[in-house]
């Protein structure tokens, strides 16, 4: 039996529930994993668990999405060039706070758009040169249309979605694949305590499974639960004169 040596999968935001679930799914298929997060010490337990369960190499790397100046150094410092880069970075923030405090709003915009887009752009350049690679950006259904409840977060995600779309268009003929993931509700630490409708809420493992399958199938844009495609289609098609008076 021969096994091809697989290129590592880098997870930006490797400490999040969704990041870990995606990492587990790739590790299960035999991929070495690099978990990148701000505080890698906290990740040691998860790192060891993943390596033991799947018998693959799992390492950690320190990464701060707001520290854009350090990004080239981060990429250069990786031991192996990743074949797949997954960004699950994001921060919802508090809409009220983001409305009142420009600093807080800027932080949400940077964490959901500027940082993820810049780092994906840098990996894109590296992959374009190599002629292969996969970029997975976890964006959000909140980016499909701005709503009063979360438009600061949503607008940043909209930016990220558009960025990924452009990147896909640019790299389609260069052997580099770009996948955009819009999870909808996911039962994670971030959403703990929220009363989410069961039929619309995915478990992190489900996201991991869907992302893995979508990468294998070279899908372009996926909603984790397909019902979200329909929901967002309806939300997008409401005329603005009506939409502006609705509270969603």
């Amino acid at each position: 039996m021969t096994t091809a040596i697989l290129d590592p999968v880098l997870i930006l935001g490797g400490g999040s529930d969704i990041g870990l679930a995606i990492a587990h799914r790739f590790a299960k298929a035999g991929y070495p994993i690099v978990l990148a997060a701000r505080d890698v010490e906290k990740l040691e337990g998860n790192r060891a668990d993943m390596a033991l369960r799947h018998n693959v190499e799992v390492t950690t790397a320190t990464f701060d999405v707001l520290d854009t100046a350090a990004m080239p150094g981060f990429i250069a410092g990786l031991d192996h060039t990743p074949g797949t880069v997954v960004s699950v970075i994001g921060a919802m923030g508090e809409q009220d706070q983001s409305e009142a405090d420009p600093e807080a709003a800027a932080m949400v915009m940077r964490a959901n758009y500027e940082g993820p887009a810049l780092i994906m752009g840098m990996f894109a350049a590296q992959m374009e040169e190599a002629g292969h690679g996969v970029l997975v950006g976890v964006s959000s259904v909140a980016g499909d249309r701005g709503r009063a409840a979360n438009y600061i977060y949503g607008s940043a995600k909209a930016g990220f979605t558009a960025f990924l779309s452009g990147l896909r268009n640019r790299l389609a003929k260069r052997g580099v694949h770009v996948l955009t993931v819009k999870p909808g509700f996911v039962a994670t630490r971030m959403t703990e305590g929220m009363d989410l409708p069961k039929a619309l809420t995915a478990a992190p493992e489900e996201v991991g499974e869907k992302v893995f399958d979508a990468v294998q199938a070279r899908r372009n844009v996926i909603y984790v639960r397909s019902i979200w495609w329909l929901i967002m289609l309806i939300i997008r098609s409401i005329p603005e004169r009506i939409f502006k008076k609705m509270s969603l």
Binding site: G45, N46, A48, D49, L52, R53, N55, R189, G193
Partner: protein, 444 residues
């Protein structure tokens, strides 16, 4: 904030609403342990009310990381919420398997230790606890103590089989068995009655695994007619050639599931009779030696996810008791007669031989153990009381991991260890700190 959930065991009887804490790590767990009347809950595979807290319940499933594995000794250190099936998924391809496994792979390690579960190899190798090197137990102050046969030996001895009433098991070191393949060499023997079944068990004491399925609707001269299934881990070299090259590969079983509660009439004496008759005929044809993959061999019911729902919304009752060797034949005969007499039948009736075990509060003792299940209704509850009486009369005892209804007097009468346990808990203050619906009912 703890949310309120309706809690129940695998038998879906009884149900009780109560606060449920879902800690993500040890620090969060420590905030729950001091609430009083707390019990930890793993994957909810105890049948009755063992994992329903008296005042609050702590869901341990998020504390589910593997910590280390030593390929020299086969010792795996893992958090209590790790599921046995995950251990198998990870280590079977590398040639390791749990030494002891119950009939479902969906148990958590914490639950397996707290119930000191057994498998088909108790007579030859002992219970789950025999392969636990140490446990880390969190007390009501949030302090974690390591306990082993050498360090805090009393805490260790009470914790293994202690039904979660000594504190919360947060992690443990368990030993895995080196194996050469994912296959079990199975020999099926038809025993025409109970006497023949017992003789088969007694002559197979050196065989690693043995278990019998009893056709509990047979009566008269056929009473206790069984299919006795013996098993050994198959060596790589003895496998049929199509498996020899990849001895750890086994067919992936399709998962069926029971998506909704079956209506109450689906399981009645007629369907049970039909099932048992079919199983009996199928087993007779299967007589002899065959190679069975690990999943089908150890976990036939796991293939039907949510099989507990076939009993409908009212749930079902499991009854498992053990009788000492000398009283086994007489006692089992009485039980099977009593069960057959009610005409209610048991969907599954399983007989196993236990080896000797000396422990503070674990279920097994040398003798024979019988497991039956019945729909949860008044008739079954009455039958189970009569089975209790037979068990106690013969010096046996019941398995708390399956229990949902035994009376405190029955337990304390059958097992003086229960009284000693209750007294120890009282003296140390554990009785108010850690308690389940079951321990309240049983006055533990």
């Amino acid at each position: 904030m703890m949310k309120t959930s309706e809690l129940m065991g695998w038998g879906r009887y009884p149900r009780r609403p109560g606060p449920l804490g879902q800690p993500r790590d040890e620090r969060q767990l420590s905030a729950y342990v001091g609430l009083g009347g707390v019990v930890a809950r793993g994957n909810g595979r105890a049948y009755g009310d063992a994992a329903i807290g008296a005042a609050a319940t702590v869901d341990m499933r998020a504390l589910n990381r593997m910590i280390s594995f030593d390929p020299e000794t086969g010792v795996l250190v893992a958090e209590a919420g790790v599921i046995l099936g995950d251990v198998i998924d990870a280590y079977l391809p590398r040639g390791w398997f749990p030494y002891v496994t119950p009939g479902t792979k969906f148990v958590s390690l914490g639950g397996a230790i707290a119930s000191d579960v057994h498998g088909k190899n108790h007579h030859s190798e002992g219970s789950f606890g025999a392969f636990v090197d140490w446990v880390d137990v969190m007390d009501a102050e949030g302090q974690v103590q390591r306990a082993s046969r050498h360090e805090n030996p009393d805490l260790f001895a009470w914790t293994v089989g202690g039904m979660g009433l000594t504190g919360v098991i947060v992690r443990a070191a368990i030993r895995l068995r080196p194996i050469e393949s994912a296959w079990i060499k199975q020999e099926t023997i038809v025993a025409k009655n109970l006497q023949a079944a017992i003789e088969t068990f007694e002559s197979a004491k050196s065989t690693t695994y043995s278990v019998a399925w009893i056709d509990c609707l047979a009566s008269g001269a056929d009473l206790g007619r069984s299919l006795v299934m013996l098993g050994e881990h198959a060596g790589a070299a003895e496998l049929p050639h199509q498996h020899r090259l990849r001895p750890f590969d086994s067919p992936v079983r399709g998962k069926k599931s029971v998506p909704f509660d079956a209506p109450g009439f689906a399981l009645n004496s007629l369907t049970v009779k039909a099932f048992n008759a079919l199983y009996w005929r199928k087993g007779q044809r299967a007589q002899g030696t065959s190679y069975v993959d690990w999943d089908s061999y150890f976990y036939p019911l796991d293939a039907v996810l949510g099989w507990n729902r076939i009993y409908g919304r009212r749930g079902f009752l499991q009854y498992q008791c053990v009788l000492p060797l000398s009283a086994s034949k007489v006692g089992l005969t009485e039980m099977l007669q009593e069960t057959a007499r009610t005409g209610q039948g048991s969907f599954l009736a399983v007989l196993k031989r236990f080896g000797a075990q000396d422990s503070k509060f674990s279920f097994p003792m040398e003798g024979y153990t019988l497991a039956l299940d019945f729909p949860a209704n008044a008739r079954s509850l009455a039958l189970l009381d009569r089975l209790d009486a037979i068990t106690v009369a013969h010096g046996g005892r019941v398995y708390l991991a399956k229990d949902a209804r035994t009376a405190a007097t029955t337990l304390h009468c059958a097992d003086p260890r229960a009284t000693a346990y209750a007294q120890m808990r009282e003296e140390t203050g554990l009785s108010t700190q850690f308690a389940s619906a079951q321990s309240e009912r049983l006055l533990l």
